[in-house]
Amino acid sequence: MLKARVIPSLMLKGNRLVKTIKYNSDIYVGDPLNAIRIFNEKAVDELIILDILASAECKRPPIKLIREIAGECFMPLCYGGGIRSIEDINEILSAGVEKVAINTYAVEDPRFIMKAAEVFGSQSIVISLDVRMNNKGKYEVFTQRGKKPTGLAAADFALLAQEMGAGEIILNSIDRDGTLQGYDIDLIKSVSSAVSIPVIASGGAGELTHLVEAITCGGASAVAVGSMFVLHGKHRAVLISYPSPQELGDMSI
């Protein structure tokens, strides 16, 4: 059986790593290169890094920093934030990154997904969706780091992204981000049942049982984990952690 991937997901703001709660009030987590070195020690199989400033302010991806991060990263890396052109993707992949996550621009121009998948292959093109339940009780896609409503239903857009050639979906729940309350299982179900490509559940992980739920009840192929792996205790002190293979094995992950 294929192992479900447990992927630390880190947020970059300039040269700093931060962790947000519901996409607001960020906590400083530390230096990105230092965090990557710690995750190297822990033999993590994959890593996601999202530049939230590049997303929110439509800035270009910080190529120099990405190259430094990729050079220190002894595992496959997915970078997202500010990607708006084939040239952006080319520069990021040439910097030693394995996958790119596209968010806002994929929604603005879904055909860009197709172009990118044609040039670089589906396996390097990941679509990252920021989703929140709207006042009609529907899961709606937001862009620009959760600021802009799009009117698009999460499952519908995920299916379109798949048809355009996306290789994977990172499904972020804005409402659960940083809350440690557990993933939004209904959201994960609604998207994972609509597409056949892997869905990476993101937003809300607080304990190992949450990861199991996202996989077994939600149908996620992988889980992204933020706060739980970088903060510790009720005062949310910075402490980087990752479950041992044994802990994951005991949970059948």
Partner: protein
């Protein structure tokens, strides 16, 4: 001295150097003949297409020197991904001839016989390496697995040189050793503890 050969198709050789540094080994990323002449271990990385890899290697002006080092002086060389494929005579990916150091060619994944659509190309992700013979390259590893990202693999190599195979639609050669010439299809520099063990074994045993 360990030299990681720097040419246009090297990708990001820093991740290889950093991993070597992490396990206590100094290395140099270089395209200078003087460094390569002095080297006692060579690493040839590579990403991208076969023809552009050969073209970039040719333009680096290093091929004659590499032939001398590897084929005459028997300096150990580790080829990674495209770097390994360039050791073969030719590739289905292009028209350039390869370095021809091993009697094999590079072919594209072909699933027509299995006709199973779940095998997408490129093969990308973690996969096991199954040992076909004992080799010091894999000492101190339990159930080794590595990160792969490729659409082509080598074919036709003498079976006694095959060290591991991996399974993707069918069994393909994921690493080989022919005297001082070592090739791995996967990316040790992105395969954390397994990659570190493999690089350490390469440097210590070859």
């Amino acid at each position: 001295m360990i030299v990681i050969i720097d040419y246009q198709s090297s990708g990001n050789p820093n991740s290889i150097r950093n991993m070597l540094k992490h396990i206590g080994l100094d290395s140099t990323i270089s395209n200078k003949a003087g460094d390569i002449e002095k080297s006692d271990k060579l690493i040839l990385p590579g990403i991208g297409a076969f023809d552009s890899g050969m073209k970039n290697l040719r333009e680096s002006g290093l091929i004659a020197l590499l032939n001398l080092k590897v084929m005459e002086e028997k300096t150990s060389i580790l080829g990674i991904c495209l770097g390994m494929q360039l050791f073969t005579k030719e590739s289905e990916e292009g028209n350039s001839s390869g370095l021809g150091w091993i009697d094999a060619k590079t072919v594209r994944f072909n699933f027509s016989e299995t006709s199973d659509r779940k095998y997408r190309i490129p093969h990308m992700g973690w996969n096991s390496a199954m040992l076909k013979q004992d080799n010091p390259l894999y000492s101190n590893m339990i159930e080794p697995r590595f990160y792969f990202a490729h659409s082509y693999h080598i074919s036709g190599i003498n079976s006694e040189n095959i060290v591991t195979t991996s399974l993707y639609g069918y069994e393909f050669v994921s690493s080989f050793v022919k005297d001082n010439i070592i090739g791995v299809q996967f990316h040790p520099e992105k395969s954390h503890k397994y990659g570190m063990a493999l690089l350490k074994n390469f440097v210590e045993c070859y």
